[in-house]
Amino acid sequence: MKKVLIPLDYHPTSKEVAKAGVELANAMGAKACLIHVLEDIQFYNMSYPGFFGADIYSIGQFSPKTDEESYEVAREFLSKASKDLNTDCEVFVCEGDTASAILKYAKEWEADTIVLGTYSHNVLQKIIGTVAARVIEKSPVPIYMVPIEK
C-alpha cells in the first residue's frame, strides 16, 4: 500500500482523523495526501437583480478572483495542517460535490485507502456523516474509519 488519501474539512475533529491517517501512512512508508473540497463556490458571492423597485441584493463583491482566493485559503489550510502534523503531505484542493470529488480524486491519484472519521455521540452510537456514508458506499478501495471520541 502506497497512497493514503485524507479528506479534511474545517471541523475540529478533522485534526484527529488526519493525525490517524498520517500515522497510518508513516507506519507503512506510504504517501499521504490531504484533500479539501470546496463546495458550491458560487454561494460565497450572491447577487440578485432588483425587482419591484427593490434594490439589488448582493453579498460580497463578485470577482473572478473569488475562486482563486478560496483555493488559496484552502491550500494554506492544508499546508498548515501538514506542517502541524510534522509530515510532508501532498495537498489537493478541488471543488464540487464533496463525496464525488473525493472519490474522483482517489481514483485519479490512485489512492489505496481513504481515511474518514466516525463521530461518537455517546458510548453506544456513532454517527457517520452523509459525506462519509456516500464515500463508503461508492468507494472501490478500503476505507480506514477513525473513531473520534468527544
Partner: protein
C-alpha cells in the same frame, strides 16, 4: 508491533476481506489474528419429539463445529501467509458476532479491525443493522472497511 484483527465467516466475500487485511498487515509489518465467531449453534441442530406413530426427528449437523471452524480458519490462514513472514494466529469464539469480535479486539489488544461491507447501500445497513455496522459503531479502534462488490 501493530495487531490486526480480521473476522471471517463462510461467505465467499471473506476472501477479499482477508486479502486486503493481509495487504494492510504487510504494509504495516503487523501481526494478524483471524477470528471466527460461531453463532447460535443450536440453529444448526434440529430435533422434534415423536408423537403417535411419528418416531420423532433428530438431526445433528455438526457443520459448524468448533473443529471445522478451526480447520477452515487454518486453511484461509495458510492461503494467505504463503510467501510471507507475517505472524498470524487463529481465534474461534462463540456468541453474538459483533460483540465477540469487539471483546476479542480489546483483550487481544488489536490496533485495527478489518471488516467487509457487502452492501452497496450503507444507509440500508445502518437501518437494518449488521455485524459490520455494529462493529463500526462500537469500536474504539480504527476499522478498515473493505468494499466487497456483489
Amino acid at each position: 508491533m501493530k495487531k490486526i484483527l480480521i473476522p471471517i465467516d463462510y461467505h465467499p466475500t471473506s476472501k477479499r476481506v482477508v486479502e486486503e487485511g493481509f495487504k494492510l498487515a504487510r504494509g504495516l509489518g503487523a501481526r494478524v489474528c483471524l477470528i471466527h465467531v460461531i453463532q447460535d449453534l443450536q440453529l444448526y441442530h434440529m430435533s422434534h419429539p415423536g408423537f403417535s406413530a411419528y418416531g420423532g426427528y433428530h438431526m445433528i449437523r455438526n457443520v459448524h463445529s468448533l473443529a471445522e471452524a478451526q480447520k477452515v480458519a487454518e486453511k484461509i490462514l495458510e492461503e494467505n501467509t504463503q510467501d510471507s513472514d507475517i505472524e498470524s494466529e487463529i481465534y474461534i469464539s462463540k456468541g453474538d458476532p459483533a460483540l465477540a469480535i469487539l471483546d476479542y479486539a480489546t483483550s487481544w489488544g488489536a490496533d485495527i479491525v478489518v471488516i467487509g461491507t457487502h452492501s452497496q447501500n450503507v444507509l440500508e445497513k445502518f437501518l437494518t443493522g449488521s455485524v459490520a455496522t455494529e462493529v463500526l459503531e462500537r469500536a474504539k479502534i480504527p476499522v478498515y472497511m473493505v468494499p466487497v462488490k456483489k
